[in-house]
Point group: D2
Chain length 132, copies 4
C-alpha cells in the first residue's frame, strides 16, 4: 500500500502559525479515499453503487505541530472490520517524526439510510476489507 | 433589512495572523441566506420547492484586514435582477470601517439543471426580488 | 453557563447532503471560545497575555446527522483539569436530540512553547478553571 | 511552467452535490504558491525574508460545476505587475473544459505592514515577476 502525501496549504494554518487541528480530520478523509482507491474501491464508485459510508466517530492525538509547506505522509491501516463496522488507523509523519495518530469509525448505509451487511450484499467489498 | 453579523472564528485566521481571504466568500453566503430568510424565502425552503441557485461569479475587494474575535456586519443589497440573473452587493464593516466590498452573481435552476424563469414559474419570489 | 448556538451553514454540508463531520471539530472551538469568554477569559485576551492553548487531542462520536439550516446547541463542561492539562466535554443537540458527543484536550504554553503551570503563573485563570 | 493539479476532495463538495464555490479561491492560492515555487520564490522562503503578500482582490467566473474526485488543472499567468501590485490570472480545466476563470491581486508588505518597492528592495524577485 502506498503512503498518502499531503502538502500543508497556507489556508490550513491559523494565527498560532501552525496547521489548524481540524484539518487533520480532512486529511484522514483524503488518505481514506486514496486507500479505498488503492484496494480497488474508489469512493465515487461506491456512491454510484448506492453505498454510503458515513463517519460515526473520530479520535486524534496531536503529537507535534506542523505548518505551511510541510509534507505529511499518512499510513492507513484497518484496525477492525466485522462486516458492519470498520475502524481505520492513521499514522501521520513529517519525515521520520510522528505528528498525529488518529482513527475513524464507519458504517455502511444504502441510499434509504439502512445499514448494509457487506458480506451478503457486497461480498467483493467485504473480502477486500476483511483481507487487510 | 437587518444587518448580518459574523464573529471571526479562530479557524478562519491564517499564519499571517489575519482572516484568510477565502472566508469572506463564505460570509457572503451566510449573509445571502440570512437576507433570503428576511425577505421570506429561506434557502432551505427554496431547495425543497426544487429551486437551486448556484453562484456563477464572485468579486471581492479586500480593504482592511480583520482577525480573530472581530465582529463583522454585512449589508446585502440587490444590484440587479432581470428574472433570470441576480447580482447582489455586500458591504462588510468592522465598526465604522469598511473591510471588504464584494458581489455575487446567481442564476436559478430546477433539479434537472435547466434555467428557471422566475416571473413565470415562481412569481412571488420574482416579485420579492424585483421589489428590492 | 449559557449554551452556545451554531446554525449549520450551506458551506458546511457535503454531497451526502449532511454536515461534513470535520465541522463539528470547528464548532467545538467556537463553543470553547464562547465558554472561555463566559468565565471571564476571552481567548484573544489570553493570547495577548502570552498564553497559547493548543489542542492536543479530540474525540467525536457522531450520533445523528445534521444538515443545512439546523440550529445546534452546544454545552461545554470541564471534565478534568490538573493545572497543566484541561479536558473539556461537549454535548451537541438539535432540539432535544443529541447529535454529537465529543471532547478536547489542551495544554497551556507560553510564546516560547514551554508549558505554563497555571497555578503559579496565572492563578486567577487556574481558579476559574479549577472551580468548574 | 507546469500546470498545477488539484483533485476535488469530498469535504470540498456541498449538498448541491458539487464543489462549493469558495474552494476555488483556495485552489487559486495552492496554484499561486506552486507557481512561486516554480519561478524560484517559494512563499515560505518569502515569509522568512520578511515579505508578506496579502490578497487585495479576487474575481471568479464559474463556468461549469465540478464535483468529488474530479481532477482540475490550473494554469497561472501574470496579467500585470508594476513593482508594487501584481495581478495573476488562473484558468482551471477539467480535461479540456474550462470550469473556472479567475484572477487575484496582491501587494507586497514588510513585517511592519508597509508597502515594499520590490525593484529596490528585492530586485531578484522583481526581475523574476517582471520577466513573465
Amino acid at each position: 500500500m502506498n503512503l498518502y502525501h499531503h502538502k500543508v496549504q497556507y489556508y490550513e494554518t491559523d494565527k498560532m502559525g501552525i496547521t489548524h487541528h481540524s484539518n487533520y480530520v480532512r486529511w484522514m478523509e483524503e488518505a481514506r479515499i486514496d486507500f479505498l482507491g488503492q484496494i480497488g474501491w474508489p469512493y465515487d464508485k461506491l456512491e454510484e453503487m448506492g453505498v454510503i459510508s458515513p463517519v460515526t466517530g473520530i479520535d486524534c492525538k496531536y503529537k507535534v505541530s506542523t505548518t505551511f509547506a510541510d509534507l505529511i505522509t499518512i499510513e492507513v491501516k484497518v484496525e477492525s472490520f466485522n462486516g458492519v463496522r470498520l475502524k481505520l488507523n492513521y499514522e501521520m509523519k513529517k519525515e521520520d517524526t510522528v505528528v498525529c495518530e488518529s482513527s475513524s469509525e464507519h458504517c455502511f448505509l444504502n441510499k434509504e439510510g439502512n445499514i448494509i451487511k457487506l458480506k451478503k450484499e457486497f461480498p467483493d467489498l467485504y473480502e477486500a476489507l476483511a483481507g487487510l
